[in-house]
Symmetry: C2
Subunit: 94 residues, 2 copies
Amino acid sequence: MVHVFRALDDETRRLVLDELSVRDGQTLFEICSVLTMRHGLSLTRQAISQHLGVLESAGLVVTERRGRSKFHYFNPEPLAEITGRWPTRKRTEQ
Amino acid sequence: MVHVFRALDDETRRLVLDELSVRDGQTLFEICSVLTMRHGLSLTRQAISQHLGVLESAGLVVTERRGRSKFHYFNPEPLAEITGRWPTRKRTEQ
DNA sequence: ACTTTAGGCAAGGCGCGACTTGCATGTCAA
DNA sequence: TTGACATGCAAGTCGCGCCTTGCCTAAAGT
């Protein structure tokens, strides 16, 4: 089980979440190609796969397998832990 | 300049923000002792100092120096980057 | 059955971040 | 000014995370 904060501490994983926000339910290869085309990333398929594993372990991505394809969906629920941990207020006067 | 996501990817730094949320404007030694007492941490003063440096570099902590003391204040503003990056909606149907 | 396609598993390299140790700087009190 | 207090700087160790390479499993097409 990977912590949400650690999952978000990587620009590639954040870009993956960006992409899934635009178009949900993409496969590994689709994510690979769109990351290469639109963001100039040159990573191997395994690298992206490991990133997706981290995101899934953190609960930020849920998957569904159909045949030989695996579809990835963005799940924003764990983000609530971040927004709820600290009160969003202005700093107090000293 | 440290990224907000990286600054938050450390339980010690998150505890520091927790403590500053409870009582703002603490010095390095105060943070050290309260982390040791209340959270069972056994870190050196330098370790905590480096953590505070990361938080300050990320903009999550602002400081003010008076004499030989340095006071640390929690600044929640950078957290907006997290909450604003991804839409908080339920996942679409496939 | 054979090939192609989509993905998984495991080991290794490599760099960076967390932490420590030691010394230096600057401030306040007596 | 001398000593104690609060913090800063720098080098070094060590573990872990990111990425690659290589091989394997399984589903679909022909």
